[in-house]
Amino acid sequence: MAKTVRTFLSQFLGRIPTMRLGVGVVAALVLMSLTISITYAQGEVPTQEQNMAGAVLGIFLALVGLGMLTVVLIGFVLWATQTKIPFLPQGEPQGIARYFSFSTDHKVIGIQYFWTSFAFFILGGIMALLVRWELALPGLFFTTTQYNQFFTMHGTIMIFFFIIPMLTGAFGNYIMPLQIGTFDMAFPKLNTLSFWLLVPGGLLMLASYFVPGGTAQAGWTAYPPLSILASKQGPGQLLWGISLFIAGWSSIVGGMNFLVTIMNMRTKGMSYFRMPLFTWNIAVTAVLQVLGTASFAAGLVLQVMAMTFDFPFFDPVRGGSPLLWQHVFWFYSHPAVYIMILPAFGIISETIPVFSRKPLFGYRALVFATCGIGVLSFVVWAHHMFTSALLPQLRLPFMLTTMLIAIPSGVKIFNWLGTMAFGKLTLNTSMLFSLALVSMFVIGGISGVMMGSIPVDIHLHDTYFVVAHIHYVLFGGSAFAIFAGIYYWFPKMFGKMLDERMGIWHFWLSFIGFNLAFLPMHAVGALGMPRRYADYAPEFTELNFVITVGAFLLGFAQLILVANMAYAFAKGKQAVDNPWGARTLEWMTSSPPPHHNFEEPLTVEHDPYDYEWNPPYKPLPETAPAVGD
């Protein structure tokens, strides 16, 4: 324990200036947000006890912020005067301690991201089950405020602290540098910073539960005036904004790092059109992260200003406009849905050829489709606002661009089908989840096109149909791909095989629970049940009960995944270097890879999915479980 603390201190004080910069930024923001929560605590808030709790928490965290700033300043002075502190340990920590340090190794950071976002996945899942508990039967179980907080935090946590960090942070960080055959990221220290910004961001989000008035309750979209009204009940809504601002920084820094790495650090022979599809998708995602998130940050700045200083940006009486936020927000958040789905497409573009034992069908078409989606994603945002008093003449162009996105998405679907056609399919867990993505994403995609057409959207807007759509693309798409990725890359990341039998159970229960939960939502939505209400008309009771049963089944299925991972660590089979007989570079090194990824730099002489091409690779290992032949 004392050693860990000393390692932390030494890294703060002496070794990584970038960390000090980040810690300084976070400290300043934490200080700011908590000074404000103290101010709230002294003002008009519900009860005396809550005032005290808020004040104590505020003062405590403000002191933490102050302490961090002091450490930063001391660190700067030590650096400027080149003083060394003798008693602090030097060098990288080893073993488990690595995962609690500011390691700059992209593999360590990938695993840090993995467990952090997995923890948030569990938390967000519990929130979802609480929402479903309330909606199982008509009538109120929780208070309406509690209900609002549950669905707000469910959406926020799942999007910003599970899917995005899991896909780009965990898999992007761990797998992408391996796939292009490099030894680390372009900016290892910024990579560290990117992860360690996510942690305070997430903690601040959770801390917002403990301030007077509770956490944010304006939905993950936080439309004003809802968000401004919520901020009058306590600082939770404000902490929400500041937390996402910090998480946004993490995303921007990460994206920039990915782009530079991919553009500048590919190993010899790895031309752009030999990069595996996952790396291509990470590259396009990184562009979206870098460009889109900044717009979101600007929007959050406006919200925070409007909440803290009562600036009239969103108040029509004083000349502002609530639509401002919607434009700025969706300019980020539409690309954000592609930040969440493109790496998922990347993952299954890896698994499908491997488990079909065939080259990827239409490699270039898939690459161009990915780029096309990236470009189009910036010009469709107003389709979220068809009913928001958008200029009517503007609706049509946005409807057309929205429908255009179906074309590159369709290209992808058909290319995956083409890859599987006449292939030798291996239906293991990873492949099953990939197939689930292909089929479920088609449903989600088609309901997306439906809502993209203006007359249908006017009827369906803000009903459960939208909830069904988002879950078909984000759970049926992104989360299923994450599971496919976990089963596919877990041997590489942790050196242990996951158990296939448990995996199959996990898949089928997830798949059935998922469809039980989200398919009926289309019906209740089309029948007119609005979303985000804690109660509903009695005629929706049966379907809602089915949805709740499905949701709990889905939640239970995830416990199998947890058990499977625990079992793998305790008794799992040791993974060989290339258990799936794949051709991409991450499998050309040991499992898990050594510190510099590869013993010797590689030179690539083939395409990533070239299954006819044999020589320098070892034959398929004998122990490969259930792979073809």
């Binding site: 921007i252 500048n264 460009l291 200083f309 004083r318």
Partner: protein
């Protein structure tokens, strides 16, 4: 990171973009910043264009301020552009191996940045003062709650000012290294990176100045 391993891997790379990692990263980061300010600036423009004349007092509130503060603001713009030129001169000096002049130019840049921040503070005081005199709004930052123009002005120039302040902090770091003798005619990456950032901050101010004072 073991330097020899890194060197071995770097020797076996595709040509890439031909731009160094640092510079490429800086450009990408600045692209992100461009979107941030583009969003803020388009919000300011959108607010000023509200067609509802009853509530759109953006121009009315701006008029007396812009008339009075234009001279200070123009001077300030000039100061910032000048300090951008100083950075270029510093890079030019170190390229010729002239350590002394490089330090002089960097210090002048610092003075430029600090002067800009000071003047910006003056402008904020001026705005709050004028709004109080002309329209009877509350003094200080609170004026922003009553005037959309003041709110937009404080937010946009505030975040630009924050970027200038961060630039000054970065410059302090560069200066410490300059006095330590870290830079040579071949190695002056940090100055160049700082220069890119500083030019960007300068450019944003020119657009903000046009929008807040001129049109």
């Amino acid at each position: 990171m073991d330097i020899t391993v890194a060197r071995k891997f770097r020797a076996n790379q595709e040509p890439g973009t031909g731009i160094s990692n640092d510079k490429l990263g800086m450009w990408i980061f600045l692209a992100s910043e461009v979107i941030f300010f583009a969003a803020l600036i388009s919000v300011v423009v959108a607010l000023s264009l509200n067609p509802n004349e009853e509530v759109n007092l953006f121009r009315e509130h701006r008029e007396p301020y812009a008339r009075k503060a234009i001279i200070l603001a123009t001077t300030n713009t000039f100061v910032l552009i000048l300090s951008s030129v100083f950075v270029v001169s510093a890079i030019d000096a170190i390229q010729k191996g002239n350590q002394r002049m490089m330090k002089v130019w960097l210090w002048l840049t610092l003075i430029g940045g600090a002067a800009f921040l000071y003047n910006q503070g003056q402008e904020w005081a001026e705005l709050s003062h004028i709004l109080h005199e002309e329209f009877g709004f509350a003094e200080g930052f609170a004026g922003g709650t009553e005037s959309l123009f003041a709110a937009a002005f404080y937010t946009a120039t505030g975040f630009h000012g924050l970027h200038v302040a961060i630039g000054v902090a970065l410059l302090l770091y560069v200066l410490v290294r300059a006095h330590r003798g870290d830079f040579t005619a071949r190695r002056y990456n940090a100055i160049e990176m700082f220069g890119l950032y500083w030019h960007f901050v300068d450019l944003v101010w020119i657009i903000l100045f046009t929008i807040l004072y001129l049109i």
